[in-house]
């Protein structure tokens, strides 16, 4: 699968996990979207650093080619899936009483 296809799949699975599996419903909450906006701002900075310096280089064969802050647009989906799943699990465990 291409990086593009994997990213779209990851976004869909992330929302399903949040809403249907963990039932944390973060994607319906202001606290989540505010946090995500802050994280996205910093992701653009760090993506730019890693990509423009070619610390990480992407093959053009597996992406659609649109870039934001030097990095493939697919990276935004990768980042969204990463941080959203972590935040949803954090809330899930808190709700389950794992508070330490």
């Amino acid at each position: 699968m291409s990086y593009t296809a994997l990213t779209i799949l990851a976004i869909i699975l992330t929302v399903l996990i949040d809403v249907k599996v963990l039932k944390t419903r973060l994607v319906t909450r202001k606290v989540f979207w505010t946090s995500y906006a802050i994280i996205l701002f910093f992701q653009l900075i760090t993506n730019w650093w890693l990509t423009s310096n070619e610390i990480v280089s992407y093959s053009e064969d597996f992406i659609i080619g649109a870039r934001i802050a030097a990095a493939p647009i697919e990276d935004l989906g990768f980042g969204f899936a990463l941080v959203t799943n972590v935040m949803a699990l954090w809330v899930y465990w808190g709700r389950r009483g794992l508070v330490r």
Partner: protein, 113 residues
């Protein structure tokens, strides 16, 4: 200096987020079991993604801009640390927003101490 290219990014992420532990008392590092329970399963899945991507040629790392310690498939140490540090920063962010916006529902309120 080139050696620290990737390490600079990780250091920046730590600097930009970990101060929240003190300034806003987000108490993420102190709740390390809950944090690791949230981070490790996700990190594992994303590392599988990384190995797939590297082996398929989706992306590659410039090892000269890393500390030079590599794991399977030549993935640098920094990439493994990325999946610990970035998630901690994300949890600190949502906890910081909770501290500032006390009335916004997060979803775990009844269990919060």
């Amino acid at each position: 200096m080139e050696t620290f290219g990737y390490a600079v990014m990780l250091s920046f992420t730590i600097l930009a987020s970990f101060w929240l532990e003190l300034a806003l008392k987000v108490r993420v590092l102190i709740r390390i079991r809950r944090a690791l329970s949230a981070i490790l399963p996700v990190a594992l899945v994303f590392l599988i993604w990384v190995f797939y991507a590297v082996n398929r040629g989706h992306w590659r790392y410039d090892i000269s801009q890393t500390l030079g310690i590599t794991g399977p498939s030549g993935v640098p140490l920094e990439e493994f640390l990325f999946f610990i540090i970035v998630p901690i920063a994300a949890i600190m962010t949502i906890e910081a927003v909770r501290r500032v916006k006390g009335h916004w529902i997060v979803g775990d309120e009844e269990r919060e101490s």
